[in-house]
């Protein structure tokens, strides 16, 4: 392996947030088509599931103008599983309308990433608005994912080193109080940010969203969830981590 590995990045704004893909390997430019397919698929998922677009499949289904598509059915079913796995703290019905977007993002990104998996010997890092999915083949270093300080986004509170897996963060740092507490139906305010590391993005993201709604005690809950570790910053700035959270990565 050469000391300096070629690396190329692509960025597009999709679903209202930046999506960047980094590819490492001998000739990263050759990944151009696979990356374009990832972006196209994410745009298609946005068109289908947007709660902002009146003509999205989701909006039309809610108005009774469209039968449940295969994709919608899959997402609705996954949302139900998510609600059960999170003791109801992830709930697409907690707001004024059915809103699966807390799951759709992870689901769509995870699914679109299969086009990168086909690149074989290349390493890749997909970042969708702060939620990250990575793969580094043998012979390449692990990806280093900085966890931003929710009180000073130019700084980091941790670095996660990963070969394969996901890092998802939920909180109020950039978009304000947008996570609804399903029990009170009011904005959840006791967690400033929570980062979940796990094997896949869909569940890391769902657990992070649920933990933000649940409050600081979510750390005890996540300690009992196999394969997922978390770091939580409370609204007061205290930092809590699950028992197997790696402290050494920095």
């Amino acid at each position: 392996m050469s000391a300096v590995m070629a690396r190329r990045a692509w960025v597009e704004q999709i679903m209202g947030f930046p999506v960047s893909v980094h590819v490492r390997g001998d000739d990263p430019d050759s990944a151009e088509r696979a990356v374009a397919t990832v972006f196209a698929e994410l745009r298609a998922a946005d068109a289908a599931f947007s709660t902002y677009l009146d003509d999205s499949d989701l909006s039309r289904w809610e108005r009774g103008e469209l039968p449940l598509t295969t994709e919608l059915a899959a997402v609705v079913a996954l949302c139900e599983v998510a609600r059960e796995r999170t003791d109801g703290w992830f709930d697409p019905r907690s707001g004024p309308r059915y809103d699966p977007s807390g799951l759709v993002k992870g689901w769509a990104v995870q699914r679109a990433a299969r086009h990168l998996t086909r690149l074989g010997e290349y390493g890749w890092c997909l970042n969708a608005g702060g939620d990250v999915l990575v793969h580094a083949p043998e012979g390449q270093p692990e990806w280093r994912i900085g966890v931003e300080d929710p009180y000073d986004p130019g700084r980091l509170i941790h670095v996660v080193s990963l070969r394969d897996g996901a890092v998802a963060t939920s909180g109020t740092a950039h978009r304000g109080e947008h996570i609804i507490d399903p029990r009170t139906r009011r904005p959840a305010t006791r967690v400033r940010a929570v980062t979940v590391v796990g094997p896949d993005l869909l569940w890391s993201d769902v657990y992070a969203t649920a933990a933000a709604a649940r409050g600081p005690s979510a750390i005890e809950w996540l300690d009992g969830v196999d394969g997922y570790e978390a770091l939580l910053v409370t609204a007061l700035g205290a930092v809590r981590v699950t028992s197997k959270w790696k402290q050494e990565a920095m």
Binding site: R8, G146, E148, L156, E248
Partner: protein
């Protein structure tokens, strides 16, 4: 061990200073000296360390840390002022001090950043944009 105690002391002291700062235009704050107490640590430094309760104008403040393998694994503030309608305000001021030691992103050698969802509008100023721009061709 000594470093940890110093850190805990500094954290509580910093917190008290911030509380004091908020009141400096009003009257002399009633912040007492801070010492650490109530530790349940083992000889290798692992365990839970409780800072003593510091009296501030807004009420008592206490910081507790857990140490494992020589690292601080959690910071809690079991006692903090509330109920006077000012807790939100106080929280916002106290936060930067209570968060664990942070890292300068430039020196960390990171490949990407995970954080609460960045909006497209906020992207240009973000750390991720800086990292991306180094690799766009």
């Amino acid at each position: 061990m000594r470093r940890i105690m110093a850190w805990l002391g500094a954290t509580v002291a910093g917190l008290v200073l911030l509380f004091s700062y908020r009141t400096s235009t009003m009257s002399t704050p009633a912040a007492n000296a801070v010492t650490t107490s109530g530790t349940t640590g083992t000889s290798d430094g692992n365990g839970t360390y409780e800072g003593s309760v510091a009296q501030t104008r807004w009420g008592p403040v206490q910081v507790t840390i857990k140490v494992s393998g020589g690292k601080i694994t959690s910071v809690d503030v079991p006692i903090y002022p509330s109920g006077n309608g000012r807790d939100q305000e106080i929280n916002a001021v106290a936060l930067p001090i209570l968060t664990q030691e942070t890292l300068d992103a430039q020196s960390a050698g990171i490949d990407t950043v995970s954080g609460a969802t960045v909006t497209s509008d906020g992207y240009k100023e973000s750390l991720q944009a800086a990292i991306d721009s180094a690799h766009l061709s």
